[in-house]
Amino acid sequence: MNCTDFLAKLTDFFDGQIEPDLLAEVKEHLGTCHHCEVVVNTTRKTIDIYRHEQPYEFPEELSTRLRGAIMERCKQSKEAAEAKARLHEELTRTSSRGS
């Protein structure tokens, strides 16, 4: 396995979705290629940092405000749908009485 072959398998390697035979080849390559070893270590660190440091905060205050606004819109939508249904029912009843 050369560096290009190794790179092609990098995503599967990180995701643990690599066949046992290929995994042995990948490990063998890593044991002899310092550049690829650095790429693996620093790429893994890249993923870890983004996963654990979470560059964007989501404070409780924001969550509460957004949830309040969402539920208010949902409530209004539900009430409008119910009012429409009632009106439709009323009209149906009136027209059936008329005929």
Partner: protein
């Protein structure tokens, strides 16, 4: 690669019947209750996924106001279209797909002269071959204050093309599986893997400028 990704469905309902059945998820009970008119059940779903939806929108749009608006719109649309969710995919994946569509629409509105899609700039060869082989310091995140580190991470990921940024966000930050990421983005699994590799390598390359060992030139 592009053939699978050029058109993300605007209507989340298109996703509902698109995938094979999965095991029953605890969300399904909440969804059924919400469908029956229980708004408290829907509010519980909002609590569970508002963070994920907001961060996904923010990573794609890079704009806090847009991300707030999108978060509201996503849950409101989901509420209105609950009947179209059949439970063939995870509810959270369904929400993420709506969020991605809404976010890309915002980007398109902002850049009226350009088309913004999952395909934008993904043809670039940048980052597909590693160039920087410097080792990093043992705990690179400790070199900088929390504020400085956050700024570096934001600036670095903002430099990725939207198609790469979105795949990395869903797969590596929000921890969706490769299959879920593919489903949420309307991409094939090989396309997700390819973009993920290049996103990871590009980010690694850029972060290396900050985190490489001092004797190889750094802060």
């Amino acid at each position: 690669m592009a053939a699978h990704s050029s058109s993300l469905a605007e209507d989340p309902a298109e996703l509902s019947g698109a995938t094979a059945a999965v095991e029953a998820h605890p969300d399904l009970e909440l969804v059924e209750r919400a469908k029956a008119g229980d708004t408290a059940a829907f509010e519980q779903l909002v609590r569970q996924y508002d963070r994920q939806i907001y961060r996904t929108a923010l990573h794609i749009t890079q704009n806090r106001e847009d991300a707030e608006d999108i978060t509201q719109d996503v849950f409101f649309k989901a509420f209105q279209k609950l009947d179209q969710f059949q439970g063939n995919s995870k509810f959270s994946t369904w929400l993420v797909r709506i969020a991605v569509n809404e976010s890309l629409m915002r980007l398109r509105k902002r850049k009226t002269s350009k088309t913004v899609s999952m395909d934008q700039d993904v043809q670039t060869e940048e980052g597909s071959i590693p160039r920087d082989f410097a080792e990093w310091r043992p705990n690179p995140e400790q070199i900088y204050s929390q504020g400085e580190l956050g700024e570096i991470l934001r600036k670095t990921i903002a430099g990725l093309p939207p198609g790469f940024r979105t795949v990395f966000t869903l797969r590596d930050i929000e921890n969706l599986s490769t299959e879920e990421t593919a489903e949420a983005l309307g991409l094939s699994v090989p396309a997700v893997k390819s973009r993920l590799l290049r996103a990871r390598l590009q980010l690694r390359e850029r972060l290396s400028r900050y985190f490489r060992k001092a004797n190889e030139g750094s802060k």
